[in-house]
């Protein structure tokens, strides 16, 4: 067998594996999509008929719209807090105290190291009563989601900062007459755009689908999308499927828009 033939067969094999994997991942989603579009689908191989009524019902449900909006508010609130706190933190760590980076790398692992159920019990204890009683309000979710976004943002922007050689750029800007503020604003910040955008969209997709913290810390008092989905589990399966597909479609649209906006202009 010639090398070309071996290559052809190898290529075919790889292609089949990729397509199979793709199918396995896509199949549940395709099934859910079909179910959300079917009038009823129980005893037959294919649905009895197709309809948009579940989507119309979902998107005219005020409770769903409120949950959707509340999810957006909590996510954007947490991300805004992250940007305001993490960008200056990163600048200070990498420019003034580079040795702190190793400590930060340990700290940012904590949100992953402690299981959400454990940390939510802790948060319930601390913020359940007393002067900082926030349980049941969106504020506790914003604060909690900030800690989840921290590792994504810290790592992505750190990589970005290391790639631009921050100390030399700051030195060059200083010698050209820029104050530290101006250097950070005109030279450093524009170069962090890519890392910042990537980490924001990644964090958003993750936070938008977060359930454990939202359910334990806030529950129905400030219903988010995932909590709403959980509460609707006993309603029609077609309705729930329409909800899941709507959620996926939104995240997909958001990610596409993010990629599009983030295209390298050069």
């Amino acid at each position: 067998m010639s090398r070309a033939e071996v290559g052809l067969i190898g290529g075919l094999y790889h292609r089949i594996v990729v397509w199979l994997l793709f199918l396995i991942l896509l199949l549940p989603l395709a099934g859910t999509l079909l179910y959300s579009l079917s009038t009823s689908w129980s005893a037959t191989i294919l649905p009895d008929g197709l309809t948009f009524k579940w989507y119309l019902e979902l998107w005219s449900d005020s409770r769903f719209l409120a949950a959707f909006g509340q999810s957006l508010i909590v996510c954007f609130g947490a991300l805004a807090l992250s940007v305001v706190l993490i960008l200056p933190l990163l600048f200070v760590v990498h420019y003034y105290f580079p040795k702190l980076d190793s400590l930060m790398n340990i700290l940012i692992l904590l949100p992953f190291a402690i299981p959400p159920v454990v940390s939510s019990v802790g948060l319930l204890q601390v913020y359940g009563s007393g002067p900082l009683a926030m349980v049941g309000t969106p504020w506790i979710l914003i604060g909690c989601y900030f800690t989840i976004a921290l590792p994504f943002m810290y790592r992505a922007i750190t990589n970005n900062l290391q790639a631009i050689n921050l100390p030399d750029l700051m030195d060059a800007a200083h010698l050209l007459g820029a104050s530290t503020w101006k250097a950070a604003l005109f030279v450093v910040l524009p170069n962090l755009r890519k890392g910042l955008m990537v980490s924001l969209f990644l964090s958003f997709s993750f936070l938008f689908g977060e359930f454990v913290f939202a359910n334990i810390l806030v529950g129905t008092r400030y219903e988010t999308l995932q909590v709403y989905l959980n509460n609707m589990r006993n309603s029609s399966g077609h309705f729930s499927s329409a909800l899941v597909i709507s959620y996926f479609f939104f995240v997909l649209l958001f990610t596409w828009a993010a990629n599009h906006l983030n295209k390298d202009k050069s």
Partner: protein, 329 residues
């Protein structure tokens, strides 16, 4: 009074001294090179002059005013870095114009000065490119234009040629020297490359372990090294201790000696018997390694004719002009 005068400058990190008691004076329009091995403190000294690193004590007087308490933004110093340090989000023209923008220079004047600076480094056609679209040599020329456009009183070059390939390095060092002479700009250049230092400088400050061990023009440094380190660092001197030198040269010698490789002649009737160990071709020069009673010497001979080449193991004799034997150490 000198244009730049450094007096008793000292810098240490904790208990580790980087340099101490640095004293030197530089005249207006001089091209000075700080030459020395890695870790000798030359780059730190340059950063201290720029204000990017603080000093522990001492004075840096530029035109009579002490720079030590002045912020780097206000020192009027331009600097070119080894890593280019171009701003990746800005075009070439925006990079060069950044200093003028910070000085709030009017747009028309700024545009004109950016054009002039880019023309000086022959990059006027690259104004709208981004740094990542340029080669290393072009990046460094942009960095040079960027540091010149603000008309600094002093230009600092921190190993600007180290990251470039040999041909571009040679071209760029000539260009830097031409521009420096045209603008009569006082310049301090840091390098560990002795050839660069010898070719470019009006004066060289040779540094070792945080001290200036010798200063002077290229010829002085090359022909009259003050100690073993200077002899070893510049010109590939043969360093021989007193006892071996006495035996080899047949005369009493009290201190170690340094002999330039080109000051030794290979022949057949010289006073010192030797054997060729190996040879390597350095373009117009052939460098022999010869054995004299177990001591290896370097001998440089002009590469005139292939027939003159001495083969490995061939017995030869060496003669050394007495005036080329420098007692050092």
């Amino acid at each position: 009074m000198s244009f730049l005068s450094i007096q008793g400058l000292h810098k240490s990190y904790g208990d580790t001294p980087i340099f101490s008691d640095i004293n030197c004076t530089i005249e207006q329009g001089e091209f000075i090179t700080l030459l020395g091995p890695s870790g000798c403190g030359k780059s730190t000294l340059l950063r201290c002059i720029a204000g990017l690193t603080s000093v522990n004590s001492g004075q840096i007087l530029l035109d009579g005013h002490d720079l030590v308490p002045v912020a780097p933004q206000k020192r009027g110093i331009g600097m070119v870095f080894q890593s280019y340090a171009l701003f990746p989000n800005m075009t070439v023209a925006e990079n060069v114009g950044f200093g003028l923008r910070m000085q709030k220079i009017a747009k028309d004047e700024s545009r004109q000065r950016v054009n002039e600076a880019l023309t000086m480094v022959e990059l006027q056609d690259f104004a709208e490119r981004l740094p990542q679209q340029l080669s290393g040599g072009q990046c460094q020329r942009v960095a040079l234009a960027r540091s010149l456009v603000t008309r600094p009183r002093l230009l600092l070059l921190d190993e600007p040629l180290s990251a470039l390939d040999a041909r571009i390095r040679k071209h760029l060092r000539e260009q830097i020297r031409e521009i420096q002479q045209e603008l009569n700009l006082t310049t301090i250049f840091v390098t560990h490359d002795q050839e660069e230092a010898l070719v470019m400088s009006d004066r060289i400050f040779l540094m070792n372990a945080g001290k200036i061990v010798q200063s002077g023009d290229a010829e002085t440094l090359y022909t009259a090294p003050v100690d073993n380190f200077a002899a070893g660092f510049i010109g590939n001197y043969n360093l021989i201790d007193a006892e071996v030198a006495s035996q080899m040269l047949g005369q009493p010698i009290k201190r170690g000696v340094a002999i330039r490789p080109e000051a030794i002649t290979i022949g057949t009737d010289g006073p010192i018997a030797a054997t060729i160990r190996s040879h390597s071709l350095l373009g117009n020069v052939i460098r022999y390694r010869v054995d004299v009673s177990g001591v290896e010497l370097l001998v440089d001979v002009l590469n005139r004719d292939a027939n003159d080449l001495h083969s490995k193991g061939k017995p030869v004799t060496l003669s050394i002009d007495n005036s080329a034997i420098l007692e050092v150490g």
